[in-house]
């Protein structure tokens, strides 16, 4: 009984310390020290320990939409988004805070993976607001709390000015109005 009396406050203290501590991401670092430090710095700034994974994902999406200024890409993604290309693009975005859809998708992928979410970069197209043409584009699909969702902060920021959140954790049926992609190549987002 005496042990239990001592154990309770110790446990309470540990819980309190855990609650007061900074955000600890559940995913693995990339191994690139500079990139990992920058990623951790963003996640610690944006995510809250007590928040749900969905709340933290939405906070990261908002941060990317706000922090990155559009600039034409000069990256070579002709071989697809390999791990090396993805990490280079993400590091460049975090350093310069400028880039195009390929860089934003790479940055989202690296941030979400560090948060413990399985994430793939989608190479597809979006439809211009006036419906005039389909434009090559990149965004991500991530597995959050067991389900897959689309996240496209660049499109949300520039094409849905009053509804940026719609393109965070969107399903296939919502996104297909403005985006197209190879359904066989990527996970379905119900």
């Amino acid at each position: 009984m005496r042990k239990c009396v001592w154990l309770a406050p110790v446990l309470a203290l540990l819980l309190l310390l855990a609650a007061c501590g900074g955000y600890v991401p559940a995913g693995e670092p990339t191994g690139n020290e500079t990139l990992d430090a920058d990623v951790l710095s963003v996640l610690e700034e944006v995510c809250e320990t007590g928040n749900s994974l969905e709340e933290n994902v939405r906070a990261v999406y908002d941060w990317v939409a706000e922090a990155i200024t559009y600039r034409a890409s000069t990256a070579d993604t002709s071989e697809g988004f390999t791990e090396e290309v993805t990490e280079e693009l993400a590091a460049d975005m975090l350093s310069k805070r400028r880039g195009a859809c390929d860089g934003e998708a790479a940055l989202m992928a690296v941030l979400l993976r560090r948060m413990g979410c399985e994430t793939v970069i989608v190479e597809g197209q979006f439809l211009r607001a006036d419906g005039s043409e389909w434009v090559d584009h990149a965004w991500v699909i991530a597995r959050i709390d067991g389900s897959y969702y689309h996240l496209d902060p660049l499109y949300g920021r520039y094409y849905a000015e009053n509804d940026i959140a719609s393109y965070c954790m969107a399903g296939d049926s919502f996104l297909e109005a403005t985006h197209q992609w190879d359904r066989e190549a990527y996970p379905a987002c119900p």
Binding site: Y70, R71, A72, T74, K96, A100, V135, H137
Partner: protein, 169 residues
């Protein structure tokens, strides 16, 4: 005695006024140009004019823009990259990003320190990532501001860029 007191008061007042107005460092629209390899380049200039100044030794790339109507065009020199935006039949300079022979309108070049920058442009800047940026007020809330920005590495300037005020379509 009264004269001395009045004189002292005047001197103190003048000294106070001088101290208040002492920070002449600032960022203005005059700072939206860079001297690259001896040529002055200003934002919004038609890119053909700039290419005739800097020469034809560049790599060119274009792609349909994710954000703007028309094409994203980049002209990539060994130590400078031009980014353009379409304006009717012309492509104008949206951003010039330099990592080589470059000076700002106030004479700052690569290798300068953060303190050097602040002495010339003041402390009213934005810092994010490795970027220290000075921005002009925008003419419309949807626009992104014209700016001069410095990429810092280990406390010194590694790249300098200017951007035009622009808006996504």
């Amino acid at each position: 005695m009264k004269k001395i007191a009045a004189l002292t008061l005047c001197v103190l007042l003048l000294a106070g006024l001088c101290a208040c107005g002492g920070d002449s460092a600032s960022f203005t629209s005059d700072d939206l140009s860079l001297t690259v390899h001896g040529s002055v380049v200003t934002v919004e200039t038609p890119v053909e004019e700039i290419l005739s100044l800097l020469g034809q030794d560049y790599d060119y790339a274009e792609a349909i823009s994710c954000v703007y109507e028309g094409m994203d065009k980049t002209f990539d020199y060994a130590d400078a990259t031009l980014y353009t935006y379409p304006d009717g039949d012309a492509d104008r300079l949206m951003e010039l990003y330099c990592t080589g022979d470059v000076q700002t309108a106030k004479g700052l070049g690569l290798g300068a320190s953060r303190d050097d920058i602040v002495k010339l442009y003041g402390s009213d800047c934005k810092e994010a990532g490795s970027v220290l940026a000075y921005e002009l007020p925008v003419s419309s809330p949807e626009n992104l501001p014209a700016s001069l920005y410095f990429l810092l590495k280990d406390g010194t300037v590694e790249a300098i860029a200017i951007t035009a005020e622009h808006r996504a379509e």
